[in-house]
């Protein structure tokens, strides 16, 4: 495997470009990291459209419960929406698959897959990933898992509908909910394949970062994007296998009669033959991945933001070393806080105290990051490109969403807001919207690198501003209905007169959601239109320091014709005194007598 790619890389060292790419080897089974990045992105956009579209459907139901809508008949069909009225089981399916797709397929696979693949070799000065072949397999397994997940939407008994956290026994017993039949089996198979894909990708990223840095690229000269992708991959390798084991044990319980997670169950008029297992065990296994997963999603977005904010502020990122330290601290803490999802799960309350402590600790490195971003803006010369706006938007939602974490991480306060809309508001802002903004920032910033053309900035501005307003419009009011005790995952609230007051709020939220969802069409139009008709880019449109902009616009195997550039400085020499330009790329040698001004 590695043999093949070695030969490949050596080819380029000697400057041979004779072998011909067929359509299949160039666009489909490509082993070139740039093409694989684009494949990840396109698959991610496709899955994102499904995921966001689903959220609009169930938002309609929440605003106008049990109303008949033509869109329901159109998308859900007669079984899930008889007469155009969404059924309660269809509602649960939609929220389950929305969560799964957004968390795993869009924000994990597509975000990391796109930008780790594109940037790790390019920013480190490597010809390609350590193993191009494994990279290709990783993408195709991700593709396969996406296909299985999409197929699960069409099975007779409906897709998985036990929530994206698939807690057993609900997810284990088809008698408990129809979605736990074939739909759940496909969900588990899809996730198993997905995890295999993710692990191959992560191992590849780690090996590439450790071994394939160009001359002069020490670890402390790596752009923060790479630091983020690197640590993300490490967290992924540590935590994803645990989810795989949970999924396998659940498959055993479902299909082979074991009792890992099940005990003493009386359902549908009969006692089931399970004894001795515990659903709490599943919760532990799930959240041992589930919480680091939040950072697997968020860190790449923060890495992209670091790069975009520094470049567009024309200033060094503030506190480069503190940023690295906080990434490491977050990575370490992220693996010992999972219990804050389980304060009221029935685990020993003493554990609750421990997890409260570790959870609130994680606020410190997060605060450091937020303040460092703000300080980077201070006295800058801000180039407010769409990518920059999305990055500033990320810092804004990261703060808003992160702050409510102080309430949720406190076990005492969590008792009353656990599993309410307060939680929905919190995590959508802090990891959903923030990570999506990071992804958009990355797309706007590196689009020229990917496609050799520019995205239209006017459409970019429209896209950002409408999205930004709608994101707050959707999620800010949710905090309040959550504080009022409205549980999440309710099909409708009409059975509780107590909650009648919230119907107006739900209508407002849905209105913002629809506008925010539809404005993504502007982005998608811009994206696909610009691939063919966008303005041709110059080599370094944002006047950036990192190595990817020294590579030619045309994509070639091996990234650089001739020698790989050598690195002489850190990536953030923007507006450095003593230089004429306000940027000094990493491959520019130090002038005689030039001092290193950062620590």
């Amino acid at each position: 495997m590695s043999h093949a790619s070695d030969i490949h890389i050596n080819d380029h060292h000697e400057g041979h470009h004779h072998h011909k790419d067929t359509f299949i080897t160039k666009y489909i089974f490509s082993i070139d990291h740039k093409m694989i990045a684009k494949q990840y992105l396109l698959t991610g956009i496709f899955m994102g459209i499904i995921g966001v579209g689903m959220s609009l459907l169930f938002r309609l139901q929440l605003a106008w419960p049990e109303q008949s809508f033509k869109v329901f008949s159109f998308f859900l069909g007669e079984k899930m929406a008889p007469g155009g009225v969404m059924t309660n089981e269809a509602y649960l399916s939609l929220i389950t698959i929305h969560g799964t797709i957004m968390v795993f397929f869009v924000l994990t696979a597509a975000l990391s897959g796109t930008f780790s693949n594109l940037l790790i070799p390019l920013q480190l000065g490597a010809r390609d990933m350590a193993s191009g072949f494994m990279n290709m397999i990783s993408y195709w397994m991700f593709f396969l898992s996406s296909v299985i997940m999409v197929i699960s939407l069409f099975v007779e008994s409906g897709p998985a509908s036990a929530g994206w956290t698939i807690y057993p026994p609900l997810s284990a017993l088809p008698q408990a909910i129809a979605g736990s039949g074939l739909g759940m089996t496909l969900w588990l198979v899809s996730m198993a394949v997905f995890i295999a894909s993710s692990l191959m990708g992560s191992l590849n990223y780690i090996v590439t970062v450790l071994n394939l840095r160009t001359k002069g690229m020490s670890m402390t000269r790596m752009p923060l994007t790479i630091w983020a992708f690197f640590i993300t991959a490490v967290i992924g390798v540590i935590s994803f296998p645990v989810l795989l084991s949970a999924a396998l044990l659940l498959i055993m319980d479902r299909s082979f009669g074991t009792s890992f997670f099940l005990s003493d169950i009386y359902l549908a008029g009969e006692v089931l033959n399970y004894q001795g297992g515990s659903p709490v065990l599943f919760e532990h296994l799930f959240w041992f991945l589930g919480h680091p997963e939040v950072y697997i999603i968020l860190l790449p977005a923060l890495g992209i933001t670091s790069e975009v904010i520094a470049t567009n502020s024309r200033k060094p990122i503030f506190g480069y070393r503190a940023m690295i330290m906080s990434i490491l601290a977050i990575a370490f803490l992220s693996t010992i806080v999972w219990g804050h999802h389980m304060f009221v799960s029935g685990m020993n309350p003493f554990l609750g105290s421990v997890f409260t402590f570790t959870t609130l600790l994680i606020a410190i490195p997060s605060a450091v990051k937020a303040f460092n971003y703000i300080t980077t803006l201070w006295k800058g010369n801000l180039q407010l490109n769409p990518a920059m706006l999305f990055s500033i938007g990320l810092v804004s939602t990261f703060i808003t969403g992160g702050l409510t974490g102080i309430i949720l991480g406190d076990s005492t306060l969590d008792i009353n807001v656990h599993d309410t809309y307060f939680v929905v508001a919190h995590f959508h802002l802090v990891m959903g919207v923030s990570a999506l903004y990071g992804m958009f920032a990355g797309i706007y910033h590196w689009y020229p690198k990917m496609f050799g053309r520019m995205l239209n900035k006017t459409l970019g501005y429209i896209h950002f501003w409408v999205t930004a307003v709608c994101a707050y419009g959707v999620f800010f009011p949710m905090h309040f209905i959550g504080l009022a005790g409205l549980p999440r995952r309710y099909y409708e609230n009409t059975n509780f007169p107590l909650f009648d007051e919230f119907q107006d709020v739900n209508v407002i939220i849905t209105a913002f959601a629809i506008i925010g969802g539809l404005v993504q069409i502007v982005f998608i139009y811009n994206f696909f239109h610009s691939i063919f008709y966008g303005e041709k880019t110059v080599q370094n449109p944002w006047k950036s320091n990192t190595l990817e902009w020294t590579a030619p616009i045309e994509h070639i195997h091996g990234n650089w014709p001739g020698e790989i550039p050598e690195v002489h400085r850190w990536p953030y020499d923007y507006s450095k005194p003593g230089h004429e330009d306000d940027f000094v790329p990493q491959n520019v040698p130090m002038k005689p007598g030039e001092e290193v001004l950062h620590h």
Binding site: L170, Y266, V271, P279, I364, K379, W465
Partner: protein
């Protein structure tokens, strides 16, 4: 038809956008050819002002939400003793995060506006400062340490109850798809043993009828609690995970099949007292106004009007548990101790109920035999029927 219209609108919208970009491109023609899609001074100016405006928007939405929806949160009127402590902590945390939110968002967006790019403006090379890093890692550390300290004290008070000292009333909360049941431990204040394998007929909780502690256990489908007495809930589930959520009491605990979980509190306000508080009167009036309006619309459509709302404490299910998760509730009533005793005295023990059901079955009167059998059958299949009826 609507679908076609929507699709048409979308198509037209994309055509319009396409035209818009064309116009935009045309206006750009003849100006700088290269790099026209990189922000210029004009873009920086417009978006800088917009960032400042966005700060205004964030403040507006915060203020609107607080003013308009600030009364939703159950941050006043806790109905349990520990609820006061929880609410105080909640207020402290909320004020803290609002303050930080206001300051940091202001800095972020103001800097975005103030330092918007201009030709000739040079950014300051400012790469790091250990003193600053120290300040903004130690301030959150201190503040969080204080929060953790108070939080953990409250947590320990709530979660660790010494049952030997406080002698709380023991009540079982029993969850099943999609129904709550309460079991009172009776005069001995000890719950009889139970297991789902013993579920049969009227004995829907699987009580071990031979256990001596089970003899005085009473099963009800409404939860009554005495004011001022500590209650400890022993929580069971017969099928999937549920969560016993009583927002007014700031109480929540998951119901886990195969395991008994527990939560404990002291109810401090009776239902009658709560109904009389000014906040609650206002709230109920507001809700009833909404319901009246909705009723008008319903009546116009020929449907029945909604009942007016009177306040009651509720026990909700707060863990996704199946198709009818959204309608799994039980009425909770806090009585004065005397009323509570009186109410409890009207209930028969489960053991007695089982005996009666058996007696009916053994000596069926003419014509009732058939009903009796179907009855016990229907109790057995209860859950299935509920599940089927509620999944549309």
């Amino acid at each position: 038809m609507t679908i076609i219209l929507v699709l048409l609108v979308l198509v037209l919208l994309s055509v319009a956008l396409w035209q818009l970009t064309k116009i935009f491109d045309l206006t750009q023609a003849g100006v700088a050819v290269k790099n026209s899609q990189v922000a210029d001074d004009n873009d920086n100016k417009v978006n800088g002002y917009l960032l400042f405006g966005f700060l205004g928007f964030i403040y507006c939405i915060m203020i609107t939400c607080v003013v308009k929806y600030g009364k939703f949160p159950l941050l006043s009127n806790p109905a349990s003793v520990h609820g006061k402590e929880v609410d105080r902590l909640m207020w402290i945390s909320l004020i803290l995060i609002f303050t930080v939110q206001i300051i940091t968002q202001a800095l972020l967006h103001y800097f975005g506006y103030k330092y918007r790019g201009k030709k000739g403006q040079v950014a300051t090379y400012f790469s790091d400062n250990n003193k600053l890093e120290f300040i903004w890692s130690s301030i959150p550390a201190i503040v969080l340490a204080v929060l953790i300290f108070f939080g953990l004290f409250a947590w320990n008070d709530i979660m660790f109850v010494n049952e030997k000292v406080e002698k709380p009333i023991v009540i079982e909360i029993y969850a099943q798809q999609f129904k709550w049941t309460a079991r009172y431990s009776g005069a001995d204040n000890v719950l009889g043993k139970a297991n789902v394998r013993l579920i049969e007929g009227v004995n829907t909780l699987g009580l071990d009828l031979t256990d001596k502690n089970a003899q005085d256990d009473i099963v009800t489908d409404e939860l009554h609690l005495p004011k001022g007495r500590r209650v400890v809930f022993k929580i069971r589930s017969q099928d999937v995970l549920h969560s016993m959520y009583m927002p007014h009491f700031r109480a929540q605990m998951n119901c886990v099949p195969g395991m008994v979980t527990q939560f404990s509190f002291i109810p401090s306000v009776t239902t009658a007292e709560m109904r009389e508080t000014p906040e609650m009167i206002e709230k109920v009036e507001h809700i009833n106004k909404i319901r009246e309006e909705r009723s008008k619309a319903l009546v116009a459509e020929g449907k029945t009007a909604l009942d007016p709302y009177t306040f009651d404490y509720l026990l909700l299910c707060n863990k996704i548990c199946g198709a009818s998760h959204y309608n799994m509730q039980m009425k909770v009533v806090v009585d004065t101790p005397e009323e509570y005793q009186k109410w409890l005295a009207t209930k028969t023990t489960l053991v007695k109920a089982v005996k009666e059901a058996k007696a009916d079955q053994d000596n069926p009167k003419e014509g009732e035999a058939v009903t009796a059998t179907t009855d016990s059958l229907s109790t057995k299949k209860d859950t299935t029927i509920v599940a089927q009826a509620s999944s549309k």
